[in-house]
Structures are given as C-alpha cells and as structure tokens.
Symmetry: C2
Subunit: 205 residues, 2 copies
C-alpha cells in the first residue's frame, strides 16, 4: 500500500481559476505557513517570510503588479513568498529554540554563525541563490499542505518584483521569490499537465 502523500503529489496541480466566493480564515493561514516553515534550509536558516494578501483592496493592488492576472483577485489568498538575503544575520535567532531545547550549546551556535558568515557575507550570488532555494522549498511544502487541507494552489512568477517589494514593504534584504495563489478551484481549469518520463531526467551512475 502506498502512503497517501504519494497520491497527493500526483493529484496536486497548479490552477488558474479560483472560486472568488471562498474565504480563508486567519487560523488556516497560520496552519499553511506553519507547514511551509517545516521545510529544510541550510543551517536551518529559515530565511523566508510570507505576506498573505487577502483583503479585496490589497489583492487589487497586487493584481496591478502582476499584469492584471485575474487569479490574483479571485484566489482566497495570495502569498508573497519572500527569501532573505544575508541569511547569516538571522541565524542566531533562528537557532534559539534549538538551543533552548538543550540540543546545542552556545559555543556550537557561535561556530555555526561564524561558518555561515564566512560562507555568505561576501557572496551576493550565493545569498540570492539561498534566498530562492529556501523560499522555494518552503513554497513547495505549502502547496502540498494546501492540497492536503482540501485547497488548491498555483505558483506564479509573472509579476514585477520591484513593484511588489516597494508596494508591500519588503525589507532591503528580501526578495519576492514567487507568488502563491491558494483557494478553491472554479470550473474551467486546464487538466494536469503530463510530465517528462523519469528516463529523460534521471541518470544513474
């Protein structure tokens, strides 16, 4: 018997048409983000942040920044999934609960912060890569969690990053990695797109 999560992976599909009458409450938003935050990240940086755009007026603003795509007003919520540059600066705070639980001591945390600082501080491309990588791992987890909670989703890169950063108050060290629409499907979505066979994308050595 296969685990139900495997069926979920096969069922999840990105949709474009959402039921505009469906609403998502605060508790559900928190649940979605809680699961997203369970994704792994280098050093356990957790260098991500989620802005949940839910009110009609804010959706309308975001829609303008996303070339007027209707799904941005029709979805129940649109997450602006942000990745943080300079992840080493947030590491000490990110590891605090792990230290508080007694799993690492202060010297170990110091060593991790030193190591991360050496690796990232002077390497803007590595910072950007890490922001995109961490935020994408979290976004994928959020999409599967949404599916498991009976919702549908759709990741989007069709938006103006500078407008979103300025318009929604992203920090100077934050990159909007993708938008993620979440809600209930309306009729008219495309069928799930078939994938390339594993043989085309897998090499065994």
């Amino acid at each position: 018997m296969t685990h139900p999560a495997l069926d979920l992976i096969l069922q999840r599909t990105s949709i474009n048409r959402f039921d505009p009458s469906h609403e998502i409450d605060d508790a559900t938003l928190r649940e979605l983000v809680r699961y997203a935050g369970e994704a792994p990240s280098a050093y356990n940086f957790q260098n991500w942040r989620f802005i949940a755009v839910r009110t009609p007026s804010q959706k309308a603003r975001l829609c303008d920044m996303a070339y007027g795509q209707k799904k941005v007003v029709e979805a129940s919520v649109i997450f602006i999934v942000c990745g943080r540059l300079q992840p080493h600066l947030g590491l000490r705070a990110a590891l605090r609960p792990f230290m508080a639980a007694g799993h690492v001591d202060g010297a170990t945390v110091d060593a991790m912060v030193d190591s991360a600082t050496q690796g990232y501080a002077d390497d803007p491309q590595m910072q950007r890569d890490e922001a995109i990588r961490s935020a994408s791992l979290a976004a994928m987890t959020l999409m599967l969690a949404a599916q498991a909670m009976g919702l549908a989703s759709g990741p989007m890169i069709g938006f103006d990053p500078a407008q979103v950063s300025a318009g929604f108050g992203l920090g100077a060290d934050e990159v909007p990695v993708l938008l993620l629409t979440v809600g209930r499907p309306a009729p008219g979505n495309w069928p799930r797109k078939p994938r390339r066979p594993a043989a085309d994308v897998l090499e065994i050595v």
Copy 2:
C-alpha cells in the same frame, strides 16, 4: 481528521547519519524521480535533471567534491539535483506530452515558447533564478516522497559546484542546485530542529 501528508511534513527531518548497508534499487530511484518531476515549474519547463550517484567509486569521487562529508558515502544514493539555464530551449519538448493529449494545439505551444523566449533568453539572472527555483521545488517533492516511502533524506549545499559540474558531466547550461542524500537512518542523528513560530514569519494584509 488531518490528512496523513500533514503528519509526514512534520515528521520529515534532514539527517546526517545513514546506514551504509542499505541499498536502493533502480525501480525505487525511478519512483523517487517520478514524484520529484510532479513538482510545478514556470511554463511547465521541468528544467531539472537528477544524477543518482550510487556506486561506491562514484560516491567516493563525489565525497571528495563535498569536503569529505561522510554522509556522501554512507547514504544509499546521493542525487545531484540540477537546474537548467535557458529553460525556453527545452519548453517545446517539455510540452509535447500535453499537446499529444490534445489539451493544447501547436499555435498555443508556439505562443508559450515565444513568450518564454522573450522572458528568459536575454536575462541570465532570471535563468539562474529559475534553475534554482524549479530544482528546489522538485527536490522538496523528492524529499517528501522519500519520507512517504520509508526513507530519510538530507539536502546539502556544502560541495564545490565547479568540481561537481566537471566531474559528473553536467551540461554547460546546468547548475548543480543541491545534493540530496537518501537512505535509511543510522543511530546518532540530531533531533528535529524546532522552527520559528508562524507569527514571526507571517504577515496578513
């Protein structure tokens, strides 16, 4: 009742110590990569590739390129998860099964390829972002699929990308986005690291 996939997300943790006696067969590798390929990507690019490093001699080579980290020889398999630059060049082939199924016609595919070419062809940073984003979405799906199949995993960025690219024959348009160890846990792994509370990473507007 919550969906079992949600528990799976909470249970998955990145491990460093693997049982070196555990082996993974070809069919399981194909299954893992099949699920990974179900991740979404812009335009359905599927701009990823997976090199499964499984033989002792190849693991030893990769271990040298990963600063001698023992998990690279002890895990059952280490996937080199690659993202492809110039994703527009592979789009027509990636969409062929969708067109063959009758969901889009040739003119629609042409329009999608034109749009992607305009968006990516002259923008190296966007190409790199997309390579990292797509490969990360696929890697996260692979980690959860592995967990659902009773395996454990650990993503790694501690390796020399130039050495891995040269040593494992990555194409000039491929980026090694992360290494992903997969296998059975051995004793001595750290406990799962607690995460920042949702209140710290979620803003609702």
